[in-house]
């Protein structure tokens, strides 16, 4: 099977790899680039465990072919926080017990990151609607919603402080 030369910007770094056009983005990230933060849950674009940020959009990387993302800018959970690892969202998920088994968490946080970029002051209803592409089997979502609302106010407070 002929392979293609895939060039991407992943978590701020230019990367290149050989892969088949049919390979799914989630497999490129996990198997070829060793970014195992995004997970595979349902494989039919329902669960969102594989969510990554692509060119400023939250996408389900199990439903995107490698060939389609040639030249794209991808951010995974591994690229969301600074070198210390724990950004505002990560800390807020921890503080509000927004995770249990942790399997959905990378997708959740990656999606929440984009949601807050687009809507920095969401209501609880907007968070629930905006996070509806990500399934969690453990938490019942209540603490995830709480964590995201809290992160929003933290991020807004630090923005105000910076001004």
């Amino acid at each position: 099977m002929s392979k293609m030369h895939l060039k991407l910007k992943v978590n701020g770094k230019s990367v290149e790899t050989l892969c088949e056009p049919r390979e799914l983005l989630i497999h490129v990230l996990r198997e070829r680039l060793n970014l195992t933060g995004p997970h595979i849950g349902c494989e039919t674009s329902h669960c969102g465990a594989c969510t990554v940020d692509m060119n400023g959009m939250s996408v389900k990387s199990c439903t995107v072919f490698a060939a389609q993302v040639q030249g794209a800018e991808i951010t995974t959970i591994e690229g969301l926080a600074g070198p210390d690892g724990m950004g505002v969202l990560q800390t807020s998920f921890r503080e509000h017990h927004g995770l249990q088994c942790g399997y959905c968490t990378p997708g959740m946080i990656t999606r929440a990151h984009r949601l807050l970029q687009e809507n920095p002051n969401p209501t609880e209803e907007e968070v629930r609607f905006g996070m509806a592409g990500n399934l969690c089997r453990c938490t019942g979502y209540q603490n995830i919603v709480k964590a995201i609302l809290h992160a929003a106010s933290e991020l807004n407070a630090s923005k105000e402080a910076a001004q």
Partner: protein, 283 residues
């Protein structure tokens, strides 16, 4: 769930894309957002030797809002929702698009893919019929325009030939009241039943009304009779009952995990009644 191999094409222009389709015939398929096609490919329910990705074709993008609305086929659901001019001109579109799938899917899923693949579960086809949209198709012999109301034959079977590409959707700028009422089991599900209504009124009486139903037959259903039943009325119970009765003549739902036929027919009537009421209230 691993897809089979395919040869990948990413043309930059519509003629280039058409050339690939002409060359490979029924072995080639176009891909837009991929959120209908890729799951099917992963389950190996379809075999596609040549995949033609339309994402680089600038002519398939863009939204223009005038007396006629033109929406490029590669416009995503997300773009439909967030385009201020379009939301103002055709608020029914955003109301419906928000009820499609989930945020991630809406970032990639396109209006063109949604209307062109002929999946009776998709929401946009019924909506396009309701709005009397037309589909602009490009093929080896040129471009033609087909009314949405004439486009669908059966499940996954449409007027589009295998060597044609849907390039844009055009519709007259609607006016009046509107509503998209959808019952589904959860976010990400297809409709158990959904109704699109767009209507105008003169002096408190319906002047024009268009009614379309989703996922209640193997094709989207535009019910001319249901719309006609509303014209001249104030959408009171008698008129609504008449519209519902007319609509029920036009649909033919099948049983699935969402429920049996009897239930779907009942819910179809309920959602249509609610859509009519909401549309009328927005006049």
């Amino acid at each position: 769930m691993i897809p089979n191999t395919f040869e990948y094409h990413r043309p930059k222009t519509i003629p280039d894309a058409l050339a690939v389709l002409t060359q490979h015939g029924d072995e080639a398929r176009v891909i837009a957002g991929g959120h209908s096609l890729i799951p099917v490919m992963k389950q190996r329910l379809t075999d596609i030797a040549h995949l033609v990705d339309l994402q680089d074709i600038a002519d398939l993008r863009g939204i223009s809002v005038g007396d006629t609305i033109r929406i490029g086929a590669m416009t995503t659901q997300h773009a439909l929702i967030t385009h201020a001019g379009l939301s103002a001109a055709v608020p029914l579109l955003a109301e419906a698009a928000l009820q499609i799938a989930d945020p991630q899917v809406r970032y990639l899923g396109t209006i063109g893919g949604n209307v062109a693949n002929g999946d009776p579960g998709n929401d946009m086809p019924g909506l396009m019929m309701c709005l009397d949209a037309a589909f602009v198709l490009s093929g080896p012999t040129g471009t033609r325009t087909i009314a949405a109301r004439d486009f669908y034959f059966g499940a996954y079977s449409t007027e589009r030939a295998e060597d044609e590409i849907l390039v844009a959707i055009e519709m007259p700028r609607p006016s009046g009241g509107y509503a998209y009422e959808k019952q589904k089991r959860k976010i990400g599900d297809y409709a158990t039943a959904a109704a699109a209504v767009q209507m105008t009124a003169v002096a408190g009486r319906v002047a024009t009304a268009s009614v379309a139903m989703t996922n209640l037959s193997d094709v989207p259903v535009w019910s001319a009779a249901a719309g006609a039943a509303l014209v001249g009325t104030d959408c009171g119970p008698v008129a609504v009952n008449a519209a519902v009765a007319a609509m029920l003549e036009d649909i033919n739902p099948g049983a699935d995990n969402r429920g049996p036929v009897e239930f779907k027919r009942h819910v179809a009537g309920v959602v249509l009644g609610r859509a009519i009421a909401r549309a009328f209230s927005r006049l």
